[in-house]
């Protein structure tokens, strides 16, 4: 394409802003319906928890970007190559990129939505900065909270509210926590961790009714609560694309160039569907954004699906999920230790880690994710070694030929032959370099003296 083409991006979330950055210097317009300058959505739960200040999550935008905030797109006019805004204004494009993200799903709970169509005042979504601020304010005056949804976001929000002093409970409809990512045993360990941290977990239970008494579950319990936070997942925001007649299944269908069924329109991030995959995570959205930026700049690159690493960002809960460990095909290497609350599992195919679950022990995460991301072909013993604890070195007696002082090249034997520390210093020059061997030299001389006196 030529530099004169006008690129219009619908959305100002993580994928959209990343793409805008990658297209710096080109004619780019960003249409965001939220009123705030672009921010790092992934850190909202950290802001709620208090580990991040809200000021610190604003993202850098390239200069000369036509950034229009508080601007909602209501229609795509493909034949005119224009988008229509809520105020009936129109913006022309040569290339259109849909980065509309996802919208939170509302679970079927009676009383959730008021007569006027708005959410019950005690009910909160958790998707935008505005949601975060509203919840933040409400949390300051609340005593307890129920989080509906035991996925990654739900656990993060639950931890955040709990750390802020609210009595917090989690309701998850599935049989265990993080059910779309991990298996039952890992989920059980997580639930136990949460309980230990003071958060009650109800699994296999659906919230059915919200009223003045509280939130009633289908198992008959009624949870008294000041706040209900909905984190029960989202679905790709596809309404615009659907109305414009683009091919939409779960998400907006894209090819290996992230192109929709209209070759002037692309889609990236949570709203897009590549193959059967709809991701819902930032790293693959950014990968898509980076790739599309290069594609639009004329590079010959194509997208072949993402390697996802889902990390829980919450104090005292250690979870990492690489790929799709419950569905990936391969041999499973697993170490589960409910006694200490750890569960680790690698799915290995042809020597390559294709998926993994790490709960409660992330000591090797830095290496495991590297192997996973790079597709490293491991030896047969390696997956097992990766899940074993670090070996502890045992102290041993130094043989005479062992080097004690690297600076001067002095062996233990030569030190043992010295009369005193001072003697060792002057005759061997041990300890006269970096000084690091001084304790070892003292110890060698002391043990030798000890041996001398006891015999």
């Amino acid at each position: 394409m030529t530099g004169a083409e006008r690129i219009v991006i619908v959305g100002a979330g993580m994928a959209a802003t990343r793409l805008a950055e990658g297209l710096a210097g080109l004619d780019v317009t960003l249409l965001g319906d939220e009123p705030h300058p672009p921010y790092n959505r992934i850190l909202l739960s950290a802001v709620l928890e208090g580990t991040h200040s809200a000021d610190a999550i604003a993202m850098r935008m390239p200069a000369h970007l036509d950034l229009r905030l508080g601007t909602r797109v209501v229609e795509i006019h493909r034949e005119d190559r224009e988008v229509e805004l809520a105020d009936r204004g129109r913006v022309a494009y040569d290339r259109l990129v849909l980065a509309t993200g996802s919208i939170p799903t509302l679970p079927p709970i009676r009383g959730l939505v008021r007569m006027d169509g708005r959410l019950h005042e005690r009910v909160h979504a958790f998707r935008t900065l505005e949601d975060c601020r509203r919840l933040d304010t409400a949390a300051a005056h609340a005593r307890n909270a129920v989080v509906v949804g035991g996925g990654l976001l739900g656990l993060q929000v639950a931890r955040a509210l709990s750390i802020r002093g609210l009595a917090t409970e989690v309701v998850e409809g599935g049989e265990h926590l993080l059910r779309s990512q991990v298996g039952g045993r890992a989920g059980a360990i997580l639930a136990r961790d949460l309980e230990r941290l003071g958060t009650t977990v109800y699994t296999g239970a659906r919230a059915v009714r919200l009223d003045d008494a509280g939130l009633t579950l289908d198992n008959g319990y009624t949870l008294e609560t000041d706040l209900v936070v909905l984190t029960a997942g989202g679905r790709p925001s596809t309404a615009l694309a659907r109305r414009a007649g683009l091919d939409v299944r779960r998400g907006i269908v894209v090819d290996h160039h992230l192109r929709t069924s209209d070759d002037r329109i692309h889609a990236i991030g949570d709203c897009a569907q590549h193959g059967s995959q709809v991701t819902g995570f930032v790293p693959p959205a950014w990968e898509q954004a980076g790739l599309l930026a290069r594609h639009l700049a004329g590079e010959d690159v194509s997208y072949d699906g993402a390697r996802t690493v889902a990390r829980l960002r919450a104090t005292d809960l250690d979870v990492a999920v690489l790929g799709d460990p419950e569905r990936a095909e391969g041999q499973v290497v697993e170490v589960s230790n409910p006694v200490v609350g750890s569960h680790r599992k690698l799915v290995v195919r042809d020597g390559v880690i294709v998926a993994a679950t790490l709960v409660g022990d992330l000591s090797r995460i830095g290496l495991i994710t590297q192997h996973y991301d790079r597709g490293t072909v491991l030896g047969p013993r390696e997956p097992g070694d990766l899940l074993m604890g670090e070996r502890v070195a045992t102290p041993m007696v130094l043989p005479d030929e062992a080097e004690v002082c690297a600076c001067a090249g002095v062996s233990a034997g030569r030190i043992r032959a010295c009369a005193s520390f001072e003697d060792a210093r002057t005759t061997t020059r041990a300890t006269t370099g970096c000084g690091g061997c001084a304790p070892a030299v003292r110890q060698l001389l002391a043990t030798r003296t000890l041996e001398g006196t006891t015999t």
Binding site: Y39, N40, I42, L43, A46, T51, H52, S53, A56, I57, A58, M59, R60, M61, P283, V309, R311, R313, D318, L362, S363, I365, G366, L367, T369, Q370, H371, D373, R374, G375, T376, V377, L378, G379, R381, E382, D385, L386, R391, A406, C407, A408, G409, R429, T432, G433, C434, G435, G436
Partner: protein, 681 residues
Amino acid sequence: MTQTHCPYCSLQCGMTLERAGRTLEVQAWPEFPVNEGALCRKGWTATGLRGHRERLTTPLVRDRETGEVRATGWDEALDLVAGRLRELRTSYGADAVGVFGGGGLTNEKAYQLGKLARVALGTSQIDYNGRWCMSSAASAANRAFGIDRGLPFPLADVEQTDVLVLVGSNLAETMPPAARHLDRLRANGGHVVVIDPRRTPTADRADTFLQPVPGTDLPLALGVLHLLDAMGAVDEPYVAARTTGWDDVRRAVAAWWPERVERVTGVPASSLRALATLLAGADRAMVLTARGAEQHAQGTDTVLAWIDVALALGMPGRPFAGYGCLTGQGNGQGGREHGQKADQLPGYRMIDDPAAREHVARVWGVPAATLPGKGRSAYELLGALGTDGGPKALLVFGSNIVVSAPNATHVASRLADLDLLVVADIVMSETAALADVVLPVTQWAEETGTMTNLEGRVILRQRAVAPPEGVRSDLDVIAGIASRVGAPVVFETDPEAVFAELGRASSGGRADYAGITYDRIREENGVFWPCPTDDHPGTPRLFASSFAHEDGRARFVAVEHRGPAEPVDAAYPLHLTTGRVLAQYQSGAQTRRVRELPDDGPFVELHPMLADRIGAHDGEPVVVTTRRGELKAPARVVDTIRPDTVFVPFHWVGANRLTNDALDPVSRMPEFKVCACAVTA
């Protein structure tokens, strides 16, 4: 008895040389503050090269037809060199002659070499191996602070800080006496953090050790900065009063949350948080980078990111705090200040600055218009040798290029295409062995000259013994060539006279030596630059009240992570990194010939998990392959290295046949510290 300094690294430890009959003995010089009498085994054995049977004592000329080398007299050799240089200049222009210097040369030699190129040869084609040393830190410091002095404070200041972060430095092995300051810092209750893909002896002395994937020190810094901002630990009053650019950096690092950093660097998010918390709670913090962080195609950006960390914490200019670079070579600091660099004139002046040209030309007694402009950087200079439009002749002083340059096989092929290669050295180094003319020069202890150590302290190496018959000083050689090629001015050969001239040439520049004299250095245990006048005390600490930019403020610079130039892939699935061992120095031309220093040859360090994967056994040979070459050496199986990384020391021929010649866009530093490799047993 002569007080002098060690011939090797940038610490320039003070030592005393004592003659005992025919031998020369190294003794401690406890009063010199940098090392307080301590030395490593390289220092203690430094006189081992004296009287070595391989010492060159006569000029040698190689016959290109037969390859035979014959001894010749000095006049004949210099006449030959000058004659060929004049011919080449006539045929191809002045830039047909290149000059390649070294970071081990004294200030006087570095200065005269620059003058030789600009005044006698009229060539713009001069650079030096310091490009492969601390040039990334230099370009970053210039950008951030407006001045480049490795440490802006005396090294001993580290003992008084609260948290010391060493990024890519293995000083316990590369400059052992410096490690004493770490131990004292810890004894004072301070905390040492070491960041390195290998758990080095330095890391063993640290309280906190982070082991990132090679080439990811930059995102690690961005992650620290992200957390500092998130936890409100940024020193806002300092940032407002003393810096510019924070807002931009702040928004850029918003994208580097800990779990993202973890995925890129391999450092667990929890470790990153612990480091940020530690720094946030420190009254005084110091960040020091070395080659591990700097020798990358993004070396400048990496250093800038760590400087951003130091600035956000409000540290630079505060006592016992701030940012510094641990320079590598003996005179890495001074060598870059006085005109060996393609773009600089003495006093750290830029060659394209008209006022700088005017000033230096006046000192040199030539019209400013005759000074050439900016030339090629070190690796680009070597890459152009023998090509159309590239130099046809190269004069090499104090560098063993074919061992120390990246992608060394390619560099050797460039040298082979030259019409004339002249090497001045003390022994037949691997590079000298390829030369048409080899000129035997004096070594340390046989000559006097100043060095500038890693602190910016100008120190004096004094002659202790007479050189062997037949050997001349580099200053003599430079003057001899200058007069024979018809230089318009006379070149001094007395080091003290050269130093005085250097002082005048540097006067008013950033690295101002005008007020420094040999006598002052002797009396004051060295003098810190800038020292503009005789009565100026020198400047041990910079930045207390302002930075060197015109507005007095430091610059935050927002940088993005691009990753290594050569990422690992299926064919080359491992990271290769290179570095030093304690008993050897640089290309080993000196240390390998010292009998008392163990020469175990190159080895390949790898983790037991990797060894098991490829069937390698400790002590048995493995082959490391990259897109540029291969190396066979014994495996050293250690659990101190990342399992996805192998390490090879660079002192021996071979390591740099593997390394990547991708360059940093600003500093022109090659990416020595990471490339993709494969290893087989």
